[in-house]
Amino acid sequence: MSTDLLCLLIPLLPLLGFLINGLGFRKVPTSLVGIIGLAGPVLAFICVFLLWGAFKAGDNAVIKSVLFDWISVGDFHINFSFQIDQLTMLMLGIVTGIGSLIHLYSIGYMHHDAGFGKFMAFLNLFLFFMLLLVLGSNFVIMFIGWEGVGLCSYLLIGFWNTNTSYNNAARKAFVMNRIGDLGFLLGIFTIMATFGSVEYTDVFTQAVGMEVNDKVILTITLLLFVGAMGKSAQIPLYTWLPDAMAGPTPVSALIHAATMVTAGIYMVVRANVLFSLAPLTLDIIGGIAIATALLAASIGLLQNDIKKVLAYSTVSQLGYMFMGLGATAYTASMFHVITHAFFKALLFLGAGSVIHAMSDEQDIRNMGGLRKSLPITFWTFLIGTIAIAGIPPFAGFFSKDEILAHVFEHSKVMWVLGVIGSAMTSFYMFRLLFLTFFGEFRGTSEQKHHLHESPLSMTLPLMVLAVLSALGGLMNVPEVLGGSAHLAEFMSPLFDEARQANPAIFEANALDHGTEMMLMGVSAGIAILAAIGAYFMYVRNAAVPAPDSAERSLPQQVVYGKYYIDEFYESLIVRPVRALGDAFYSLGEFAIDAVVGGVAFAVRGSSTALRRVQSGSISLYVLIMVLSITLLVALRFFTLPFIGGK
């Protein structure tokens, strides 16, 4: 098959699935819904595989595929076109691969739901937009995908739409993302004004010649990053992501952990030439990233909802990825995107399996001892936990360590903060694991009676993801551990232009092997210590977190209340806007009416002759108007010398 056709098929196959299940919702039989819904992603995955072959056969040369001229004004064109390079290939692999697994899982998880067809359709639509996002060859196609995945996120968070708080969460996600999207859009406009094009290749080639920290480049990169903040849940636009857990769990795994939320990282890596030219922006990104990583991790320490812990963990891990970007460790960040996709999807799906078994219970205070009744879920969840905690030799260790090593080169303080964050990560993840799977069962007897391991359609994805989480690190083992950094080598051509544009920023004082080993040892050691700490607390001492009503010390209460950021936004933005809306409506409109009407009245009032007519009825006006129009038409047959006829 030609590469053009493959590029086209990859997003179209899931779209087709969406159309069939979506339009035929309530008519397609349940047994077919699952097959149709799964076929799109799986076939797309096969196409990605074939495309990979074509890409390799072409010596990893960039492939472009132009479909049509989408929007054009004058000399400015936005093509609907795709671009295949190393970055796209990686993202395509993750999106269709993990996407397929989660679709399979969803069949088991959702097939009892009345809205099963709708659910599969929305998941397919999400894949379509996500694939557009990573396939596009210019910023505007990326923006289509960007907003499209936001829509699907909205639809799926509010999937159970009779629940008002779910609906509110969905709306909040969409609106917060829109704030970021405005930044992205303005960034695109600045790119258009500066480079006269939105096509990646055009923009980046021209950018190579620009000055480091050029004002325009700073503006562009900051605006683009505002977009990334929204989509990838960084401070201050992160509060939608924990609320997004209202959606069914496969959604949390696919959209709010593995794929969509990493779009911000994809965007920065995609525009690495621009960001490399803007060290100032990178410093800002790094600062926001570490703050987000720590803030979210600290909240995660005290959460008791299994999905909320994972949600804050996702926010925190996204912070790590941006930390890497801030230290120009683009490859390391992408590496973490990949491994995170493996283990976070695994953890969410594991959580889903638990929730499924516990009859929709999500509070870990009411769980405990589940490892006996859910063995596969337990073992795979354990692997995911070890992977995310950064304990060798599982995937998270390699990717997080690579980020931290680069951060160390950049700033020792940031590295220390990063290690503190990873200690918290290890602690809250093992806390979650122990409270869920160890100790005594704390739920109702009814729940206990009902406990069961999930069906194969759900456990199979868990097992595959567990293998990937365990071995995923091998794709980029650093030299110091005897590896050959495959991923770094593969991705290297992506950064050629950036190296050319700003060589200084890539000239890291390379760490000697001793230091590198020491850093790894420290972070792995601390992670293990934190895990042991959690073991003593929650297994040995069998501590169970206090109920919500319990008295807490002030710092604990603040963290438990998520630093009251939501309340802060509510009183700083939401309520003032509402008050303004009421004030405009009741007072503003009245005042404008009075002023504009008053001026008009004053003008008219000066003529007493007209006054009598004004007080008259509307019909009189209309009559006059009709007459004058008739007169105007009839004038055709007369001449009026004083206006200038013959």
Partner: protein
């Protein structure tokens, strides 16, 4: 000649409606508007993508000169700038007629005849090539819509339509004065008579001071029609009190007369006036975007919410025109069509819900989606068009408009861009409060859309996606005329 038939066909149909029986009135009206649609579709399909005026007609009318050019002439044609408003008028009117099929109106003959007269006048505005002819149709469009609102409207219709009428008449009078003044200033050297041809008005060499006055006369006339802040206070009440078909005509088509007037008359006739005052006009427009959107967030009545959203959106179109960039102008042309489609859809859906539940108040609705899969999907698609999601019609327009405004001034672009945030807030709020949540006694037995309603919504949705997926079918046709216009004003 095609252009002339576009004006005459609805009049013929209106007369036929007046003489048909009460039962067949709406069918006759539908047939008439469908013939008109065919004519408009023909004009669209065979339109040559250049800057020329096409399908024109030109007759002597008043104060004729021997050269057969000057004087006031009955002449009209379609160029790239008129094309999309003509298509909009041709497309939306049959849908409005179709949307009434489940309703029975008193004096149905008059009702449908007025809609058709309105269509004729609107077509006339969009094709007129003579300043006075433009004025004539601009005024004539007011009469049928006034009667529709005053006779079939809600409880407060008398007070509300009076305000509407006074406001718009006031604006029109300013325009008339400006036109007479311009006419009197056209040279008579070659032919001995003045000329009201719009092309001749473009060629006038007016002083800065003259241009300033004329700028304001035109601007206020068009600003009231759209409306632009602060000339908008007639609009929400009028939209709410009018019967929904009239609201659709007002918001879907009639307000585009204002945007069209800015492009056709204001920009090219007084370029120096726009240089001087354009920044003020664009600022007012952008204030309106944010002001209208913030009010929309708090509305409880669906119809009033949509009215304020329309006010907010039209500010963006006006601002795009005043950015005087190719993007801004192309954006406002395509957005006129897109907005017409979306707003007609939204008002129609509000009406559907009112007919079925007896209320448009958001706090009395909820849970509708359970019984109405079709309505849920149609509403969502039109809503996505309104919030300018990429691949829908709203995106293309808003993207180009915002790009044009941002290039004009970054800060204004940023403020105008707030529309994408606020738009999402009030639209999703409306959708959630009406469609989602738990059903109550009013909404639990709601019926899904009937087949005639479904056709209307389906056609609108097709346009939402067609324009969003392949806007080139529209942009290509308007581009040469816009480029030509920009040369004129620079």
């Amino acid at each position: 000649m095609l252009t002339l038939s576009l004006i005459l066909c609805p009049i013929v149909a209106a007369i036929a409606v007046l003489f048909s029986s009460r039962e067949t009135a709406r069918i006759t009206a539908l047939v008439g508007t469908l013939v008109e649609l065919a004519l408009a579709a023909h004009a669209f399909y065979y339109f040559t993508a250049n800057a020329d005026f096409q399908y024109g007609f030109d007759y002597a009318w008043l104060f004729n000169a021997t050269d057969g050019k000057s004087g006031i002439r009955f002449s009209g044609a379609i160029d790239g700038i008129s094309l999309l408003p003509v298509v909009l008028t041709g497309l939306v009117t049959p849908l409005i007629v179709l949307s009434t099929f489940k309703q029975t109106y008193d004096r149905a003959n008059s009702f449908y005849a007025l809609i058709l007269f309105m269509q004729s006048a609107l077509m006339g505005v969009f094709v007129a090539r003579d300043g006075f002819l433009f004025y004539l149709f601009f005024e004539a469009a007011l009469i049928p819509i006034y009667f529709l609102a005053a006779m079939w409207g809600g409880e407060n219709r008398v007070k509300v339509t009076f305000k509407f009428f006074v406001y718009t008449i006031f604006g029109s009078l300013l325009m008339l004065v400006a036109l007479v003044y311009l006419y009197a200033n056209t040279p008579t050297t070659t032919t001995g008579v003045h000329s009201a041809a719009i092309a001749d008005l473009y060629a006038l060499n007016l002083s800065q001071a003259q241009q300033g006055w004329i700028f304001w006369a035109f601007f206020i006339a068009f600003a009231i029609k759209m409306p632009v802040f602060p000339f908008h206070t007639w609009q929400p009440d009028t939209y709410v009190e009018s019967p929904t078909p009239a609201t659709m005509l007002l918001a879907g088509i009639m307000l585009k007369m204002g945007v069209y007037g800015l492009i056709r008359l204001l920009l090219p006739i007084v370029p120096a006036g726009v240089d001087r005052w354009g920044s003020l006009a664009i600022t007012l427009s952008i204030i309106g975007i944010v002001y209208g959107a913030i009010i929309a967030i708090r509305q409880r009545d669906m119809k009033r919410l949509i009215a304020y959203s329309s006010f907010s959106h039209v500010g963006l179109m006006a601002a795009g025109v005043f950015s005087r960039s190719e993007m801004g102008l192309q954006g406002s042309l395509i957005q006129m069509l897109a907005h017409g489609i979306n707003v007609v859809g939204l008002f129609f859906i509000a009406e559907l819900i009112l007919q079925r539940t007896g209320t448009r108040q958001l706090d009395q609705l909820g849970g509708i989606t359970r019984n109405t899969p079709k309505l849920t999907v149609y509403f969502m698609i039109i809503l996505l068009g309104s919030v300018a999601l990429p691949l829908t019609n709203g995106f293309v327009g808003e993207f180009l408009l915002l790009a044009g405004i941002y290039a004009y001034n970054h800060y204004l672009g940023l403020v105008a861009g707030l529309t994408i945030i606020f738009g999402a807030v009030y639209m999703l709020r409306m959708y959630q409060k009406s469609m989602f949540g738990t059903a109550n006694t009013r909404t639990e037995a709601i019926a899904d859309v009937s087949s005639s309603e479904s056709y209307t919504l389906l056609v609108l949705c097709v346009f939402v996606f067609w324009m969003g997926l392949y806007p080139a079918s529209f942009l290509k046709l308007t581009e040469p005329a816009v480029a030509n216009l920009l040369q004129y004003i620079k």
